[in-house]
């Protein structure tokens, strides 16, 4: 059976005055119907660029999708023209962005922005779209949705704006919801509300979710499968239980060790990852994590490892077996 979404060897570069920025370097993954995938990594690791590439939202120039395929139900999205892509966006794949203030239009009412989606995409009449927009606002938990329909974004709190964004994304019942750090700008109690909402809606509407975050805690509670990205590469991939329970890439391992936990008392020092993430303008020939890696062997500086299977549905890109400290 063809998966819902299949990303193959996706490569995105930015041609800047300083040179070519290798933002996404040949990543591949699949997403099944109704599944939730977490994409985790630090700023600049290419997690946002990878999904913007899927949505056809990379500005060209300076951006360029240099290689790869994005198969949505078997159809390559990268080959579609803008009009066809317009149909996919919102209809089939919808996206929620990090900052709910800048992604809403400040001079249009929230309700209008939602109903616009409905009139444009579904060809609904103004009246019908308005009723449906109120319904959607209610579905995402906005109190008195018919009163709030006429409010402008500044009259909404941060959490409510993100709810409105979700309502807008869900307006045309997409099969995939891509959420790019949707709770990073929010407080933890509001984050909990939004995650709870997405979980409920996911079950009710049966959509697949791609959730991008730098917060390893959020993914643990939300996703079934996850991808860890570093310097534009996927360094580890698998289901969440395997990755959290048995992290096998040195970067994932170090990241998890450097996190203190709210449910545990700790006296020891935090483990740190020395150094800084690499400059994507000029990546070294070997493994991009090698200069910061505690398990580095000679081969790491010369050859960049490919993703390789180490367990059922668990892959890492590393020459070393962290359980023994020796080359695999």
């Amino acid at each position: 059976m063809t998966p819902l979404l299949e990303v193959q060897n996706l490569t995105t570069r930015f041609h800047t005055l300083d040179g070519i920025v290798h933002a996404v370097n040949g990543i591949s993954y699949t997403l099944e119907e109704g599944e939730t995938l977490g994409i985790v990594g630090e700023s600049g690791c290419g997690k946002s660029v990878s999904v913007l590439s899927i949505m056809g939202l990379i500005p060209e120039p300076p951006g360029k999708i240099a290689a790869g395929q994005v198969l949505y139900r078997g159809q390559d999205l990268l080959k579609l023209d803008e009009a066809q892509m317009q149909h996919i966006r919102g209809h089939e794949v919808a996206m929620v962005f990090q900052d709910p203030m800048t992604s809403l239009n400040p001079v249009l009412t929230v309700g209008r922005q939602i109903s616009e989606t409905l009139t444009v995409h579904l060809g609904m009449s103004e009246e019908h779209a308005c009723l449906r927009a109120v319904e959607l606002l209610g579905m995402v938990g906005i109190p008195q949705p018919d009163d709030r329909y006429g409010d402008y974004p500044h009259q909404f709190s941060g959490g409510m704006r993100q709810r409105a964004m979700i309502a807008m994304a869900l307006a045309c019942a997409p099969s995939i919801l891509i959420a790019d750090e949707p709770t990073t700008a929010l407080d933890v109690t509001i984050q909990a509300q939004i995650i709870d909402l997405v979980k409920t809606l996911r079950e009710r509407l049966g959509m697949a979710v791609i959730w991008i975050t730098h917060d390893l805690g959020v993914v643990a509670g939300l996703a079934e499968k996850m991808i860890v990205m570093y310097a534009g590469f996927i360094v580890e991939r698998g289901n969440v239980d395997d990755i959290y329970g048995n992290p096998r890439h040195p970067y994932t391992l170090a990241l998890l060790k450097s996190l203190p936990r709210v449910d545990r008392s700790s006296q020891e020092k935090l483990a740190t990852i020395p150094g800084l993430p690499p400059d994507l303008l000029g990546l070294p020939p070997g493994c991009p994590f090698a200069p910061r890696c505690a398990y580095e062997v000679e081969r790491c500086r010369q050859e960049n490892p490919q993703l390789a299977q180490i367990g059922r549905d668990h892959e890492i890109a590393c020459w070393v077996d962290v359980t023994t400290g020796r080359e695999r």
């Binding site: 109690t189 909990a192 730098h214 643990a220 509670g221 959290y244 936990r261 740190t272 990852i273």
Partner: protein, 325 residues
């Protein structure tokens, strides 16, 4: 840690920002009650965490404590001296002993100054040493925060976020203070860099015997770095306790909800955790609810809660302001 020795005592501290109308004849029409009567002690050598969500007044509390904002009411005593009663010059001299590390390492360093000038500014302000001695001190400080002393003539834009935060720390250490207010020092940094900066702060505390007020919203990190933790909601402290006591036995319904909302990086734990999802948003600090500020969102709210709850000691230094817990 000598737990008997109080370094900073904060009593009924309030900071209200006036809201005015009119251009020529301004009259006050209300006030943002950012900090609305907080009381706590900070012991010498400890790290006191001050946590809460955005807009709860934790940053204002830190700044008012250092007299960067003039308090509306209340008293701050630093090592026995009442800061609110000090004359300008006396306060200026006192400032040498208390410093601040800011949240945003991109905004808190002057882009037109070299690292040497940034770090030596406190030394110049307090007339500490000759120019040569100051430069020597800057080099020493760069070494202390694990930066290369050769960087002395570079500008802030040449550094990464984590390195800039180290520069901010070096500046705070320059005048050899006893007390540092750390205002969200790691929230702008990437996960792998956060641990580096937190470890540095811990090492400096051991080496130099510093006392920290650590303001943050990352409750996991606060549990790691602090000795005691105070939880703020809408301008008031609702609970204060030794950290493990607070995290393992939170008494205030807000603390309980806040802690339950923090995700844990472990799927098996996450599946079993019970979240307390709070309804709605934080009310406006211009017109907070009468009585307990949390009662509009509290799952346990009762009629009694429209009266102000007392600050009660549950024993062992665990304080809470709640009628129901």
């Amino acid at each position: 840690m000598n737990s008997n020795q109080v370094l900073v005592r904060v009593e009924h501290l309030k900071k209200h920002f006036p809201i005015t109308r009119g251009i020529l004849f301004q009259r006050q029409v209300g006030a943002v009650k950012a900090v609305d009567g907080i009381t706590f002690d900070i012991y010498r050598g400890e790290t006191l965490g001050l946590v809460g969500e955005s807009g709860c007044g934790k940053t204002t509390a830190g700044r008012t404590l250092l007299q960067l904002y003039l308090p509306t009411e209340g008293r701050v005593t630093f090592d026995g001296a009442d800061l609110t009663a000090l004359k300008k010059e006396e306060l200026r001299r006192m400032r040498r002993r208390m410093q601040m590390i800011f949240q945003d390492p991109y905004a808190s360093l002057n882009a037109r100054m070299t690292i040497a000038r940034i770090i030596s500014e406190p030394l110049r302000v307090h007339h500490m040493g000759s120019h040569e001695e100051q430069i020597e001190r800057v080099q020493e400080l760069l070494h202390v925060v694990r930066l290369n002393p050769r960087f002395i003539n570079r500008y802030p834009h040449e550094f990464s976020g984590g390195q800039r935060q180290r520069i901010g720390i070096a500046r705070a250490l320059a005048s050899d203070p006893e007390f540092i207010v750390c205002d969200e020092p790691i929230s702008a940094l990437d996960v792998s860099i956060q641990a580096q900066v937190v470890n540095l702060l811990e090492e400096l505390q051991e080496e130099l015997g510093l006392t920290y007020l650590f303001i943050a919203h990352d409750l996991s990190m606060v549990r790691h770095i602090c000795n005691r933790v105070a939880v703020m909601y809408l301008g008031r402290i609702v609970e204060l306790a030794e950290k493990d006591e607070l995290y393992d036995h939170p008494a205030h319904p807000y603390t309980q909800a806040l802690l339950s909302a923090v995700p844990v990086p472990d799927p098996s734990v996450e599946r079993q955790r019970q979240r307390i999802i709070l309804e709605g948003d934080v009310p406006s600090p211009i017109d907070p609810p009468a009585g307990c500020h949390f009662r509009t969102r509290c799952p346990l709210a009762a009629e009694l809660c429209s009266e102000e709850p007392l600050w009660r000691d549950l024993g062992g230094g665990h304080f809470v302001a709640c009628h129901t817990s």
